[in-house]
Chain length 239, copies 2
DNA sequence: CAGCGGTAGTTTGTATACAAATCTGTATCT
DNA sequence: AGATACAGATTTGTATACAAACTACCGCTG
């Protein structure tokens, strides 16, 4: 059969590789596809009711973005879900920090009107963030979502096409670790919120170097806190 | 025919997508595939004597890395070679600068013995660089190669797997612009060499912040110089 | 019982056939 | 003459068939 198998609902007919990619990424990020798992093209193709061709595209993208790695085999690639380690977390957070620091730098260079608008927007998100953290039993998904939005706004407003593309590729990988972060470090969320305020002030004041440094510091601190937790809990998928 | 068409020489049988990728990238970087050109899967497949399958993999990678972009069409992707613009150059150099700055920061954190070894290595490369620049008619390829090696060493020594992967993806794109740089700005090469020395000294001294700042400055200056040249010469592939 | 070779099964790599979508050029109608 | 609709050609998206390579298991031999 060469007809479209997954044409059940409306939007299904376009960008099937993208859909497969997004669903697989979701499975990996949420941990339902455990670190170390093998990914077999035919299995995935069957599971999503498509052929191997779009699956191959999705896997290639996931691999290039670092979600899956090649298990050591002679020539053929044997893709497996990448492990979670403290060291990797520190490195990844450092990279994301550098990229977002560049965005913050640019944000502080914007004309004053736009800067102020961005600052107001960020303040509101951050206030919600702080409030959500102080409720008795915080909703982890909501916390993650608010933190995500805070960081994403700077890049969206002040980043060029390349920075947005790259950030869009790298940042989601941090989500695997950030989910641990909000779970185990709920108590330190208010620290993050305070660091965010420093960033906002620097952007509002047009202090490019201050904004850049504050973002770097924010990610550096997060990496340290998270690295310690992961090494306590033990790496996942490392054997 | 389902036999291997390109099995002429020894290493040809593995990683055909990689070979196609590398050859196409070479064509783009050297400008023999002009910005704005359309890339047609079947043409490329014929030209390299492979089927569309490995070609598709290569194109997907090139697209994700930013060498080719989708021309605005409704659903189907119409890949074209990405244009060269001054704005893009500035953004790209800023990103590469951030990544290499992170590597330099880490390099300055290394144990003293390794730091010194790296510094010595860099000094030698940089001296060759300076010397090559001062000859009456400098060899552009050699200049580019030496500059490349200087920057690459830091990342190789002090970067983790992720940073190396990302740098390996992003850096080669700058080559399209760097080739313009050494062509039009041969006179300012000695400035670059001096900036390199500042970086080396900071790494040797273990000055993490100094090393980071020096690398950022080096790329920022290069971006400015190059941006001006490109805007003089005119963007390529923008219409 | 340990080591070794071979064979069957699994999985990826490649090629190709077919379908859907877009683009181009022409002919016709107003 | 200009605009539009239709037909053919191009080109990408998808599915599938086949071949090579790696894995694992089993029986054999020393």
């Amino acid at each position: 059969m060469t007809t479209r198998p997954a044409a059940g609902k409306g939007g299904s007919r376009t960008d099937r590789p993208k859909q497969v990619y997004e669903q697989l990424r979701e499975l990996i990020v949420t941990g339902r596809l455990a670190p170390g798992s093998r990914l077999v093209e035919t299995d995935i193709a069957t599971r999503f009711a498509v052929s191997r061709t779009p699956v191959r595209g999705a896997l290639q993208r996931l691999q290039q973005e670092g979600y899956i790695i090649d298990s050591p085999s002679m020539r053929q690639s044997r893709p497996t879900v990448a492990p979670l380690t403290g060291e990797d977390a520190r490195e990844l957070f450092g990279i994301v920090g550098q990229l977002e620091a560049l965005a913050a730098h640019n944000a502080a260079e914007l004309p004053a009107a736009k800067r102020q608008a961005l600052a107001r927007e960020l303040t509101q998100v951050n206030n919600d963030f702080r409030k959500a953290a102080q409720t008795p039993r915080p909703d982890h998904n909501r916390l993650w979502d608010l933190d995500e939005r805070f960081h994403e706004r700077c890049v969206a407003v002040a980043g060029g096409p390349r920075l947005q593309l790259l950030h869009g590729s790298v940042k989601p990988q941090a989500e695997r670790y950030e989910r641990l972060y909000v779970s185990y470090l709920a108590g330190e969320i208010t620290t993050s919120a305070s660091e965010h305020e420093i960033i906002i002030d620097a952007i509002a004041a047009g202090d490019t170097h201050g904004a850049k440094a504050a973002v770097e510091q924010n990610w550096h601190n997060a990496a340290e806190r998270l690295g310690r937790v992961i090494e306590q809990v033990g790496d996942r998928g490392r054997w």
